[in-house]
Symmetry: C2
Subunit: 703 residues, 2 copies
């Protein structure tokens, strides 16, 4: 479960049962938990957990000390580790340990958000679209969301909270809209990461498998004003961990689920979205692997993107398996029929309206995906160029007239990404751009007008090679200059990547407009009517689909039965040594081998729990009823992938790192005493900073 999966969004058909459900904090079923487990989940408990939980760019984390220290997965900081790499040295492979706070290394593009408050804006949003046709309503709502976000941010700047980031969240397929208000930390520094060999032990073969032995944790610290942030709300780690059958909770930001998509939407995913995505990802995997074989430098360049790609392949492959179960699709049809009848729906049938929109999407999906949605131009420098060209146009418009990704509220994130000096590897950019141009030609055909424009006299390879060789956008200062210079500066640029974006931007915007008006808008309108019907029948006894916003769920420490054989909920350190083959991804690093005699081989390593989580929950704290951390979520078992569509309590399991192995590692393998003391709530005196020390330890490897 390496990355946040960006798929579409919905909520469950049948009332939630067992341990199913990704509940919002304002509708957590505390009474049910009390009844079944006897635990009291109070408003104070909920507030404390909420304020201790952090949303990262594509993961979750939680504060584990009052001084801004936070815990997340190793795979959640892979991007940061890659950005801190040089051609000579890779903290991703070698690990990283900062002996002192002065040695903590800033992650160039990482930020951390804490949810301070929420505001229900449903009435304002629904009013904005009322009486309009689908496309007009869809536009009107986007405008009002932009305006509400903007005024929220402006008023927060004057309040005692300090300036907040305000983001609208759509819940229950449009039955509710909220503003979520975050305190954002933009200075986030790396404190500790183990070597990739032990953090991702088992690699892609073991991904989504259990039993498991991956030490998938890392530790960072939030800073404010160049000092460790004060974070009075944090979760103490209980290094003893949980016991079997114990009640546990997971707080975090599940990325997306599609449990309430209609049967027609699931079928579209089965027939169109997943096959295209799997074929593209598979070919790209082949190209990455072969590219990485050229030399260790190339191997390092593709390491992080390859990991994330392989994760995506496994997820989508099992999603396709899930959707190929015709019985489940038939069950979906039956449930739709039941709801249609029991809710006494009048007017046009919303399921049919979604089906009609999807029939239009069958013709729009491929050009939309390649031309507007990036699949035809996989290149960081192309993305930068498009941000510059579109940003220059959009920022001249009134805030609520802009494309949603260019609103005032979005500008700080864009600038952060655009101005960051992250390394760009031209040979890798050439690979991805040439690949995507070639596949665009394949899927749109050589006679598509956009393909003809691009490839009049050049092959995909030639075009990609020329663009990457001649563009200057790998220079962060130039990007900043063009962004700040606005439309005049961008218009004056003859950078070939900028010119490429300009050449096709009219086509790209046109296909996006058609997609939004003819597909997105009618689906949104119909889905709202279905959501209203469901609310009429089922009330508030349900949870919304995941939307990469804060949720809480409960479950117990338990395994499951696989083909008649029980799978126990804990693994132990000795199992890792038994599984090791000596070659990656089953290689235990030298740091562990050399300390092997000192290690307690019966240290618990990983945990299986029945919590209902998906991608985005990576790095989530596993919490006991008293609010202590008893595990660190990092994956699900293979059955959990179908959880994107439905929750099967019999075999859907989440997987966590056990706190005991984190302590064993920090204490005996890495000798990170001060860090361990801070995690244990013991105040050690900070060692004084000597220039000597500073030199010695910058980007140092664990011992």
């Amino acid at each position: 479960m390496r990355g946040l999966l960006l798929l579409a969004v919905c909520a469950t058909l049948s009332p939630a049962y067992a341990d199913e459900g990704m509940w919002t904090f304002d509708n957590f079923p505390a009474a049910a938990v009390k009844q079944v487990y006897g635990a009291d989940i109070t408003p104070a408990w909920l507030d404390h957990v909420r304020l201790s939980t952090i949303r990262l760019s594509n993961c979750t984390a939680s504060f584990v000390s009052p001084e801004g220290l936070f815990l997340t997965n190793h795979h959640c900081v892979e991007q940061c580790l890659a950005e801190l790499s040089t051609k000579e040295r890779s903290p991703l492979d070698l690990g990283f340990s900062a002996p002192n706070r002065q040695d903590e290394q800033r992650c160039p593009a990482q930020q951390a958000d804490v949810l301070i408050g929420t505001e229900n804006i449903t009435d304002a949003v629904l009013k904005a679209g009322s009486g309009l046709d689908d496309a007009a309503a869809n536009n009107a709502r986007k405008k009002v969301l932009t305006s509400l976000e903007q005024s929220c941010e402006q008023s927060s700047a004057k309040a005692k909270t300090g300036r907040l980031v305000c983001q609208s969240v759509k819940l229950y397929q449009g039955r509710q809209f909220f503003l979520y208000k975050y305190k954002r930390f933009t200075d986030v520094r790396l404190v500790f990461a183990p070597e990739a060999d032990i953090a991702a032990f088992g690699g892609d073969p073991d991904n989504f498998q259990f039993p498991r032995w991956s030490l998938d944790f890392s530790i960072l610290r939030a800073y404010e004003n160049n000092k460790p942030a004060r974070t009075p709300d944090f979760l103490q780690i209980d290094f003893a961990g949980p016991s079997a059958n114990q009640l546990v909770f997971v707080a975090g930001d599940p990325g997306s689920t599609a449990r309430l998509q209609t049967r027609a939407q699931l079928q579209f995913e089965r027939d169109i979205t997943l096959p295209l995505s799997l074929m593209r990802a598979s070919e790209l995997r082949g190209r990455y692997i072969q590219f990485g074989k050229a030399s260790p430098a190339e191997e390092r360049i593709v390491e992080a993107p390859l990991n994330s790609l392989q994760n995506g392949i496994k997820v989508r492959r099992k999603q396709l398996d899930a959707l190929n179960d015709d019985a489940l699709l038939a069950g979906k049809s039956a449930a739709e029929e039941t709801l249609r009848v029991s809710s006494h729906l009048t007017g046009a049938d919303p399921w049919h309206e979604i089906e009609s929109a999807l029939n239009r999407e069958r013709f729009l999906y491929v050009p939309y995906t390649f031309i507007e949605n990036g699949a035809g131009f996989s290149s960081a420098l192309f993305r930068d160029a498009r941000l510059l060209v579109r940003g220059a146009d959009e920022r001249r418009k009134a805030n609520n007239e802009r494309l949603r990704e260019f609103t005032e509220a979005s500008v700080p994130s864009i600038e952060r990404d655009l101005f960051a000096r992250v390394p760009v590897y031209p040979e890798f950019e050439e690979l991805t751009l040439s690949f995507s141009l070639e596949r665009m030609r394949e899927w749109l055909g050589p006679d598509h007008p956009v393909v003809r424009k691009l490839l009049t006299k050049e092959s995909p390879d030639e075009l990609a090679t020329r663009l990457i060789a001649e563009t200057k956008l790998d220079d962060a200062r130039l990007r900043q200059q063009l962004w700040v210079g606005g439309k005049a500066a961008v218009d004056a640029s003859h950078d070939p990547m900028i010119e490429l974006v300009r050449l096709i931007d009219g086509d790209a915007r046109a296909i996006r407009k058609r997609f939004e008006d003819e597909v997105e808008a009618p689906i949104a309108a119909a889905a709202e009517r279905i959501a209203a019907a469901r609310y009429k029948v089922q009330g508030t006894n349900t949870y919304p689909d995941a939307s990469f916003s804060l949720r809480l769920n409960y479950g117990t420490i338990e395994g499951w039965v696989e083909n008649g054989t029980p799978v126990e909920p804990f693994t132990y350190l000795d199992g890792a040594f038994e599984r090791a083959t000596g070659t990656s991804p089953f290689k235990i690093p030298a740091s562990w081998q050399s300390q092997k005699a000192r290690l307690d081989m019966r240290t618990p390593f990983c945990i299986s729990t029945s919590n209902d989580i998906v991608g985005g929950n990576s790095g989530s704290p596993l919490i006991d009823a008293s609010g202590r951390i008893v595990g660190l979520m990092f994956d699900g078992n293979i059955h959990s992938i179908a959880g994107h569509y439905w929750f099967n309590s019999a075999n859907n399991r989440a997987i966590a790192v056990h706190p005991a192995i984190i302590r064993e590692a920090l204490e005996k393998v890495y000798g990170a005493k001060e860090l361990l003391a801070e995690l244990s709530g013991i105040n050690l005196p900070q060692t004084s900073e000597s220039p000597d020390n500073l030199l010695k330890v910058r980007a140092s490897a664990p011992q």
Copy 2:
């Protein structure tokens, strides 16, 4: 339509209509053709066409002169062209033209079969299995087929025909079994091939597209006793070509169709077979492309395999699209229900029996595919090693006790392949073997016993590298020695590839046995009962599914209507120059550019026809009612891919090279006067052979 597609086999549900149908020569609907088109297709016409038509390893061809000259596609000899390549020189890219017969180059592994006669053996086969359970019947039939093939070959050796190759053919899902008796030419020489740039103009982007401009032809000659074969049955080329709406015929060997698979079988293909195949092929494509970028030598190594892979991807992608049309699957269910009722079937429901077998196959398919069926060991040297190990074991058994691919009748082909000195590229072998081992670990999981055996201490990369570095099986003499030496020689060998085969052969045979007994046998039995029911209702008014055996179909020269726009049935040379971009695959070679002024730009180039063909028909002659060649089949339009499952007469079109462009090319571009004279039936005196000439022209490029 680059290669023969090896998919499963069946026949049509509804009686054939319009121009649908891949008819056997003994059941060709001559009366219908007479009625609709007024043409007389006599037994003599049929015999002449049959004896003029050739089956190649994965294509069709036809004799075009009485001296063994035959015509097929360029893509059908791609393998031969690659085998004749050296690191320095590639006849695949540069083309090939033999000025004299002495310069014609033998294709190391090509053979050519002509169907001399057929014999109905249905009774003997059905009798062999009668009264036995499915698995036993399946085995008993294989034995009787082996015995019948053997006695046919033995008796032919004593007859005036000379020794024939006898192969059993199953038609109508087991309602008929035949022996097909072939005269086999094993000395086949390359006479002419244009450059790949013009032969495959448009490349993968234009594959399965029309309008089209691919000069996809090549010319070879069959030899006997080191002299051109005497071939009194041949088809004269009519260089004027056909007119629009003219009646035309295609003779040839369509590879496989699945028009009568049950709904459950199609669903299995949709859910399991096609996704796995597409993901594997896509990744391999990525690896090939990246591999080919290292240098021109690497590019040449992957050229032919990449072309064939890309063809397979396009075919399977559009097959998946076809199967994702739920309405068509629902129609299939309805037709099954109709047949179930109208045939008054008694006993167990055969459709349910197939479904049960497929439910077992869901668990067997992946291990069978990887461990037994080659997907886990993609390597020419592994295949050789397995032939040696298994061949040594199997040849000690009675002929009819052997695995079917090791019967006496199969031995000559095995020896031909095994002893041929075709180049093996170690770096390419490493790529494919490492890829397939890695994917086997992915799909079976790292804990599968076979995976554990193989990868105890090595990664897939390490294992592949070691095996390819240390095996000596790239030496054809060693392979011959081990084959001839039999079990003693093979047992004594410690070649690491032989040892690898030995290590897993027990597992591989076991999974094959389960697959044959639990899946293949019950499906065969149930399919036969369905075929009998259909025969009862529909009689002989149907054609069997394709089985890479000789068929004939009829149609007319016509285009179709695409999204409301008519597509004309002819293209012309000027269109190729308009389409050219100057870069591959839209590059017209220098030979054509330099002669451009002399060329007639209105020369017809390609033709669209309504004939019902599939992969395997590549190289088939397009024949008019008087038996002359008016085109050379090489592809279908994009809609023709769904023809694997059903024929849509509204838009399924076949694509041929027009004979006029072949003449224009031979005459004006390549100056191949003698060849053109032979093709035109004009006797030019053979120029005398001078050693000088010989040296000059060996493997020469076209002028």
